[in-house]
C-alpha cells in the first residue's frame, strides 16, 4: 500500500512540477519589439480599449469572464462559435483622436500548444477609416505571456486584481517575421502591401471582471519592399 501511495504522490508531484515549469518557463519571454514598430513607413497607429464596457459592442458565449456589452447583445452560444468573441470598437489615432471603427473576430486556435508556451488566438480585424478606406488585418496572437504575467497573478491575488505596467506584442504571425498580414479593401489601402503588429498596454486587470485599464494598439506599416519602390 505504501508503494502505491508513493507512486501516486510521485505522479502528482511530477505533474505539478511540469505545470509549474511551464507556467514559470523563463524561455517564453514577452515580445516587446516587432519589425513593424520600428518601421519608418507607418500607415496607421490605431488605439482602442480592451475593457468591454469601453467598446461599442463585445460579445462572446456569455459564460466567460468578460461579460457581453451592451447587456442585451446576442451571445455566441452556438457550438460552432462558442470559442469565438467579437469586439466592435472605435479606433483612435496616435494623438487620441477618433480615427475609425474596427470589428475584431477572435477564435481560440487549435494550434495552441502549452508545452511551447503558446495560447494562440486566430483573429481578424475589419477596419474602416473615414476618408482613407478599409482594410483587413489577419493575425495569429499569442496570449501566453499576458496570461502568465497578468491573469495568473490576478487570480492568485487576495484582491482578485493585478496592478502594474505591462507592455508587450501579442502578434506572432502569420507572416514569417511574426507580423500580421494586411489586405487592402478600398480607398488608399486598395492595393497596399502592408503588415501589422498588435500590442497590449495593461495597468489594471480584475480576475472578476477582466480588463479594467488595458489598451490595445494596432500598428500598420508598409512592407519594406513596397516602401523601397
Amino acid at each position: 500500500m505504501k508503494y502505491f501511495i508513493s507512486l501516486v504522490v510521485g505522479i502528482l508531484a511530477g505533474s505539478v512540477l511540469l505545470l509549474a515549469g511551464l507556467y514559470l518557463n523563463p524561455f517564453v519571454a514577452r515580445q516587446s519589439l516587432s519589425p513593424v514598430a520600428v518601421s519608418d513607413d507607418m500607415l496607421a497607429v490605431l488605439d482602442y480599449s480592451l475593457a468591454p464596457s469601453e467598446s461599442l459592442l463585445f460579445t462572446n458565449d456569455g459564460e466567460s469572464l468578460r461579460k457581453p456589452y451592451p447587456l442585451k447583445v446576442q451571445e455566441l452560444w452556438e457550438p460552432a462559435i462558442q470559442k469565438t468573441w467579437v469586439t466592435v470598437t472605435e479606433l483612435a489615432n496616435a494623438r487620441g483622436e477618433p480615427a475609425g471603427v474596427g470589428i475584431k473576430f477572435s477564435s481560440k486556435s487549435e494550434k495552441s500548444r502549452p508545452l511551447r508556451g503558446e495560447a494562440l488566438v486566430d483573429s481578424v480585424w475589419h477596419i474602416y477609416l473615414p476618408g482613407r478606406g478599409t482594410l483587413l488585418v489577419q493575425q495569429v496572437e499569442n496570449y501566453w505571456s499576458l496570461l502568465r504575467d497578468i491573469v495568473g497573478p490576478a487570480r492568485l491575488s487576495s484582491s482578485d486584481s493585478w496592478r502594474g505596467n505591462w507592455h508587450g506584442s501579442i502578434t506572432v504571425g502569420p507572416e514569417a517575421l511574426g507580423t500580421a498580414r494586411v489586405v487592402g479593401g478600398s480607398g488608399e489601402f486598395d492595393s497596399v502591401s502592408a503588415e501589422a503588429m498588435e500590442s497590449v498596454n495593461a495597468t489594471v486587470y480584475s480576475a472578476l471582471e477582466g480588463p479594467v485599464a488595458m489598451h490595445g494598439s494596432l500598428n500598420i506599416a508598409r512592407t519594406s519592399e513596397s516602401s523601397a519602390q
Partner: protein, 189 residues
C-alpha cells in the same frame, strides 16, 4: 519506497507532457460543409443570414431603435453614410457556423464588404459592387481568405430573399451569400 516515488515523479512529468502534447487544448466544433462541385474544379457553397434573428448589431448614425438595445453608435460627421452590421451565419441546414460583418459606405467612394468568419474553417474577405444589380443582388469577389480559404479565389454574390411563406411571422427574409471558389493551383492549370 523512495525509488517508487522517483519513478512516479518521472511518470507524472512525462505523462503530463505527453498528455499536453497529444490532446489538443482547443477543439473547434465542426459541422459538415454543403459544397457543390463545379465543372471547373472549384466549388460552391451558400451561407445565409436570417433576419431579424441573426442580426447582432446595426451600427448606423441616428438609428431610433438600435440593435442591440443600448448600442451607443458614434455620430461623428465623418461616419455619416457609413454602416456596419454584425450577423450570425448559417449553412444550408440552418445551423449557425460563424459570424460575419458587413460594412457599407454610400456615395462616390462607396463600397460593400463582407468578412465571414467560420472559426473551424477560416475567414473570407469579400468586396462587392456598391450598387445592386438585377433582383437587388450584388456581385463581387473574394479579396482574401485565411485557413481553408487562404489559397482560393472566386466570386461572392449577395442576395436578399423575402420569405413570404415563412412560419415565423416576424421574419423579414434572409440574406444569401453564394460563394463560388477555386483553388489558385487549379485556376492556373
Amino acid at each position: 519506497m523512495f525509488r517508487t516515488f522517483v519513478f512516479g515523479l518521472f511518470l507524472g512529468l512525462f505523462g503530463t507532457g505527453a498528455l499536453l502534447h497529444l490532446v489538443p487544448v482547443v477543439d473547434q466544433h465542426r459541422v459538415p460543409s454543403h459544397v457543390t462541385v463545379l465543372t471547373n474544379g472549384g466549388n460552391e457553397e451558400t451561407f445565409s443570414v436570417r433576419l431579424p434573428g441573426d442580426r447582432i448589431m446595426v451600427g448606423r448614425p441616428g438609428v431610433a431603435t438600435p440593435v442591440p438595445a443600448g448600442l451607443a453608435w458614434p455620430d461623428a460627421p465623418a461616419l455619416s453614410g457609413f454602416e456596419a452590421e454584425l450577423f450570425k451565419v448559417r449553412d444550408r441546414d440552418n445551423t449557425v457556423i460563424g459570424v460575419a460583418s458587413r460594412m457599407k459606405q454610400g456615395g462616390g467612394a462607396g463600397f460593400v464588404q463582407w468578412v465571414i468568419h467560420l472559426p473551424a474553417r477560416g475567414t473570407m474577405f469579400a468586396a462587392l459592387e456598391p450598387n445592386p444589380g438585377a433582383g437587388q443582388a450584388r456581385a463581387g469577389t473574394l479579396r482574401a481568405g485565411t485557413g481553408e480559404f487562404e489559397l482560393r479565389r472566386g466570386s461572392v454574390r449577395e442576395a436578399f430573399v423575402r420569405e413570404d411563406g415563412s412560419d415565423d411571422p416576424d421574419s423579414e427574409g434572409r440574406i444569401d451569400l453564394q460563394v463560388a471558389l477555386i483553388g489558385l493551383q487549379e485556376e492556373s492549370k
